[in-house]
């Protein structure tokens, strides 16, 4: 049973220094509020995992939370680079960032293997790519025992904690999300501990088209975080703030501008007391 607790309490209990942490959400339902809470609580040495590190990981990396990043596409979609990510990779600021990168198909199937209780998944992926060597030791070849065909195996991902954002939970902690649901179900089920932040807590979850339900007993905690995916979007609640994504380019280019933004919008924010 997932207990419904405050976001601050959930992060304090579930996310520890040095943990492997996955915040998932594919453009939609990105758990920004939870990421900001992790920054506020000063977590360090995290291995951050995410298929598409975008602004939230740029912010967490710039704030010095991460030691390592495991990912498959890192950018500000439609805008350009992630400057904090690049500064960490290219210059080691504020701390050096190791990277391990995969393809989307590889990452998605690493979560699938983790969610399925298997040590690996088999894919037709990475073929002919330099990632075959750079993503080792978590990518290897595997031979079909029936046909002899050689395919690619990817190692399961089992984050210590996965955090996803959803539209609704009921009072027992059952969760429903809908719209583009990406790899969130797999990320939550692959983790040792799973936290879901939600827009709203309702008396009863009404099934909706495209809805994915995560039963309360498969989760650790649920935390209320209205607008917790902003500036990404929550289908049925609010739209993506594209201007924020465009503005981030300038804010994040410069270390001082970034630090000022971090102080004002995250560290001094009331979110800490939510």
């Amino acid at each position: 049973m997932a207990e419904i607790v405050s976001l601050a309490d959930a992060v304090a209990e579930l996310v520890h220094d040095g943990d492997t942490v996955a915040l998932e959400g594919f453009t939609h339902l990105i758990p920004f509020a939870a990421g900001h809470e992790i920054i506020r609580q000063g977590r360090r040495d995290l291995t951050l995992v995410r298929m598409t590190p975008d602004l939230i990981y740029d912010q967490m990396i710039g704030a010095g939370c991460a030691r390592r990043l495991v990912f498959s596409w890192g950018g500000n979609p439609g805008v350009g680079s992630l400057h904090r990510f690049r500064d960490a990779v290219e210059n080691g600021w504020p701390v050096p960032l190791e990277i391990e990168e995969h393809t989307h198909a590889g990452m998605a199937n690493r979560y699938v293997a983790g969610a399925s209780g298997l040590p690996f998944a088999t894919v037709r992926a990475y073929a002919g790519s330099d990632y075959l060597k750079h993503a080792a030791p978590n990518v290897a070849s595997i031979t079909c025992p029936f046909t002899g065909e050689v395919l690619t195996a990817v190692a399961a991902l089992r984050p210590d904690v996965s955090i996803v954002h959803a539209q609704q939970a009921d009072r027992e902690g059952n969760v429903q999300l809908w719209g583009i649901t990406g790899v969130q179900r797999e990320a939550a089920l692959a983790a040792h501990r799973a936290l879901v932040t939600v827009e709203e807590i309702v008396d009863k979850l009404e099934p909706v088209p495209g809805g994915v339900v995560l039963p309360t007993w498969s989760l650790s905690h649920v935390a209320l975080a209205p607008r917790g995916a902003y500036p990404s979007y929550a289908s049925g609640y609010y739209s993506r703030d594209n201007a924020y994504y465009v503005a981030w380019d300038a804010i994040s280019r410069d270390r001082d501008t970034f630090n000022a933004w971090l102080d004002e919008h995250v560290l001094d924010s009331q979110g800490a007391n939510r």
């Binding site: 594919f26 979609p77 439609g78 680079s81 393809t103 002919g128 790519s129 330099d130 990632y131």
Partner: protein, 263 residues
């Protein structure tokens, strides 16, 4: 090449080089094609095709949207407009495992930061040292599997010696490797790149060597300038033709899509 006449056109029907590139790429798609659309320039071209000569085209994005019909170009491949207009929305593992991987999708439409003479693609790093890159690019996304699992691939990329390079700094997505047999040796069963559309013209792999050969130039572009914008000694077809200029309909479709979106 990016400093073209964008935004400063007197005649609204005269196309910029980027627009010409997008329209030429759009024309490569057939009605009823299924098309896995990479982020960036490919999305513009695929949607121009959908709004002009290929209304039955099925656009598939790696966010899991199948049959999306966006009214404006999405800023991201996971935009809500894609989900709301799609025939189906599936999970990310499913889009890769059940739809892309089994060679179910006809055309993969990709961009590139660097491309070489065999249409291999780099979107990972610029620089010779992976661990200390000169420029850190976004990385793979779905491109390596789009390049490997779609039945054929079209690449859309602006042409300059910085992008059309002799040697990739990193092979993100396999094109034709170093020539015939390399895709098969990597375990692939698909055709790979059949066309590269740039802002200067169109290149297609030679049937025998698989090396890219200039087959078309855009209106107003001469062959010499394409050679000059290529980082290797470019092979040129004996029968280079000139691409038809964009029609009014094509340009209108592109410009309407672009309102409110990027690329």
């Amino acid at each position: 090449m990016n400093d073209g006449p964008n935004g400063s056109i007197a005649d609204p029907h005269a196309a910029t080089r980027d627009e010409m590139m997008t329209v030429a790429a759009a024309r490569s798609l057939r009605d009823r094609d299924t098309c896995f659309v990479g982020i960036g320039l490919p999305s513009a071209a695929a949607n121009v095709a959908r709004l002009t000569h290929a209304p039955g085209i099925v656009l598939i994005y790696e966010s899991g949207t199948i049959g999306a019909r966006p009214t404006r170009l999405p800023l991201s491949i996971g935009d809500e407009d894609l989900a709301l207009t799609a025939r189906a929305v599936v999970s990310v593992p499913e889009i890769f495992n059940y739809w892309l991987q089994p060679h179910r999708i006809g055309v993969g439409f990709l961009g590139a930061a660097q491309i070489d003479r065999f249409a291999n693609i780099n979107t990972t790093i610029i620089g010779s040292d992976y661990n200390h890159p000169k420029v850190r690019l976004p990385g793979a996304g779905g491109a390596p599997e789009i390049a490997g699992c779609c039945r054929e691939v079209i690449v859309i990329v602006r042409q300059s010696p910085r992008t059309f390079v002799r040697q990739l700094d990193f092979i993100t997505s396999l094109g034709h490797g170093n020539g015939p047999g390399d895709r098969e040796a990597a375990g692939l069963r698909t055709r790979g790149p059949v066309k590269v559309v740039s802002d200067l013209g169109v290149l297609e792999p030679d049937e025998v060597t698989h090396e890219l050969m200039l087959t078309q130039v855009h209106p107003g572009v001469d062959v010499e300038s394409v050679i000059a914008a290529t980082g290797w000694p470019l092979r040129v077809s004996p029968n280079v033709t000139t691409v038809d200029p964009p029609t009014i309909e094509e340009l209108q479709a592109l410009r309407q899509l672009a309102v409110g979106g990027l690329e």
